[in-house]
């Protein structure tokens, strides 16, 4: 249930503006890969190209190849909807569907996939997904309550449960803890460690300690200046990036000299 991603020479555009250029990298299965870098360096933009969410924005497009187990996600006959079903995403701000109960939120993706699911299977899936997101014990007595009634951290874990309920290959996380308090952040970080047993995880974070704590490999993105495209500066094992990076810019960033 986890697949590798190979990115080959990707350029990302918003209309005429080239936001990210020349990124090539490999994301290993069953591992956590962190993207770090200053604001505006294109790491979130790049993350959104991995499941074709970037092109949702009017005028936005991508050049280059993103391969999931050798299949180009930007190939001619690839349906972006199918890509997104394979590669789940968790957003910066928790976004459970406010009109749905906790149970329906977890099942939302499954129901979209047009699968008829029996009532007992649905119950099992809800429990398994919520357990997988470390949320079951907190919500098992109120599955029919609206998801928006939970705390921020619980909502974010509900979103993770929703993402893993469709059994994706990869889970992308776009600064999943930036709107959360330290306790909730810790809960999510613990969860990420468990999720990587089954999924390929890619996480964007502004918090370097978080990258150091949760990730196996780290990619550092940077921009030369405002209006210039973002680039991948360096990617390596997390320990190496934080102790002896090859690039001066990486060292300056991780040691807190800028950013």
């Amino acid at each position: 249930m986890a697949q590798r991603i190979d990115v080959k020479d990707v350029n990302i555009y918003y209309g005429d503006f080239r936001a990210v250029e020349g990124v090539s990298m490999t994301v290993d299965p069953k591992s956590v890969t962190a993207f770090i870098g200053p604001s505006g360096c294109g790491k979130s933009t790049f993350l959104r190209t991995l499941n074709r969410m970037h092109e949702v924005i009017p005028g936005a497009y991508v050049e280059g190849k993103v391969e999931l187990e050798g299949v180009d996600l930007y190939g001619e006959d690839v349906d972006p909807v199918a890509v997104r079903r394979n590669i789940g995403m968790v957003f910066q701000r928790p976004n459970p569907f406010p009109t749905m109960s906790i149970r329906d939120n977890v099942l939302a993706g499954v129901k979209l996939n047009n699968r008829k699911i029996s009532k007992s299977d649905a119950e099992d899936l809800v429990e398994a997904s919520l357990r997988g997101a470390n949320l079951w014990n907190e919500v098992k007595d109120r599955l029919d309550r609206p998801g928006s009634g939970l705390s921020g951290g619980q909502q974010q874990r509900l979103c993770i449960a929703r993402a893993i309920a469709v059994k994706p290959q990869v889970v992308l996380m776009d600064e999943p803890c930036s709107a959360l308090d330290p306790i909730s952040t810790l809960a999510i970080e613990d969860l990420i460690q468990e999720l990587k047993k089954d999924y390929t995880i890619v996480i964007v974070t502004h918090n370097m300690q978080q990258a150091a704590r949760v990730s196996d490999r780290t990619a550092f993105f940077n921009i030369a200046g405002t209006g210039k495209p973002g680039r991948l500066i360096e990617m390596n094992d997390t320990a190496t990036i934080f102790s002896s990076p090859a690039e001066k810019a990486t060292e300056d960033y991780v040691s807190g000299r800028f950013g």
Partner: protein, 330 residues
């Protein structure tokens, strides 16, 4: 050791209740009075209209059947006042509800197309066109209904009657001129389309990007995204929009007056002539000729319309409030 058995007396909290007015100075205070006055004006107007209706309707509501029959033209013999107003209320509701049923799905379709499907340029143009529909005077709609729409719809009504005549709405003898409630409902639907579309469009446009992206990231197609994120979010707004439209349809006078061949029956036969009449058109038609008790009777029907509209609005609010915690407003 000095014994102080009693705990230290609790210090009474200093009460510093200042009404908000105390802190206001100069124009701020004036502005407060202006806004309060504007708010009060609405209540006063509503109360004045209600009071007028009740006072002037009272003589008709308390008059005997014989008195009414003598004074009011078209008053059916040997009937109570309720039986006199009843068919008018029925006709009004039937026309308005049919118009709403026709207009709401179309309006939602247009609104969704403008908000989520059309290219930006086309969406703008369409938006203008829809708003333009609202600017057409109702007398023009009436003319158009009689001169253009009725002859055009006539074969359609014949066809409906032939194939679906078993359905109560389409039963009866089809009017050759098509100046019937069915045609009225179509015209009313066109007239309330802009308001429903405009309000729905604004609501759909306000769907949080966050929720739309949540649906898309789960692998939703465009339609599935609309279904899971946009429609639930816009639900209460669409209901409000429909109720605004219903309000307009209930009160529409001129177009109905010009198109409809009136009758005073509890009849579902919308393809047949001389079956129903709406309150507003009835008042407009008979008021110039009325005097004395007949005026009071007309105003009493107006009171009925007022009560219906009030009830519709309250029902709409109740529907919107019922599932508030799921509404996405929090």
């Amino acid at each position: 050791m000095t014994t102080t058995d009693s705990p230290p007396a609790p210090v009474a909290p200093v009460r510093r209740r200042r009404s908000s007015g105390d802190t206001e100075r100069g124009f701020s205070r004036t502005f407060r009075w202006i806004t309060t006055g504007a708010g009060a004006l609405i209540l006063a107007t509503l109360a004045a209209v209600a009071l007028f209706l009740i006072m002037r309707a009272w003589p008709a509501m308390t008059a005997s059947e014989a008195e009414l029959a003598a004074a009011v033209p078209r008053y059916p013999d040997d009937t109570s006042f309720i039986a006199y107003v009843g068919p008018l209320v029925f006709g009004t509701l039937l026309a308005a509800v049919l118009a709403l049923l026709l207009a709401t799905p179309v309006a939602m379709g247009i609104a969704l197309f403008i908000s989520h499907y059309a290219p930006r340029r086309l969406a703008q143009i369409l938006g203008y066109l829809v708003d333009l529909l609202a600017a057409i005077p109702s007398v023009v709609y009436g003319l158009w209904g009689v001169a253009v729409l009725a002859p055009m719809l006539s074969p359609v009504w014949l066809w409906l009657n032939e194939w679906f005549g078993w359905f109560p709405l389409f039963a009866g003898d089809v009017s050759p001129t098509a100046r019937t409630l069915a045609t009225v409902a179509v015209v009313l639907a066109v007239m309330i389309l802009p308001i429903i579309t405009a309000v729905s469009r604004e609501v759909f446009l306000q769907t949080p990007k966050l929720h739309e992206e949540a649906a898309l990231a789960l692998g939703a197609t465009r339609w599935e995204m609309v279904r899971t994120a946009v429609l639930p979010f816009g639900r209460s707004g669409v209901i409000s929009a429909a109720m605004l439209g219903l309000g307009r349809a209930l009160g529409e006078t001129m177009a109905v007056l010009m198109i409809l061949s009136p009758g005073f029956l509890y009849s579902f036969k919308i393809l047949q002539a001389a079956q129903q009449q709406t309150i507003a058109a009835y008042i407009a038609l008979d008021f110039p000729e009325a005097s004395g008790l007949a005026v009071n009777a007309l105003i009493a029907t107006g009171l009925a319309l007022f009560v219906i509209t009030l009830a519709v609005n309250m029902a709409a609010r109740a529907i919107v409030a019922r599932r508030k915690e799921f509404s996405g407003a929090n």
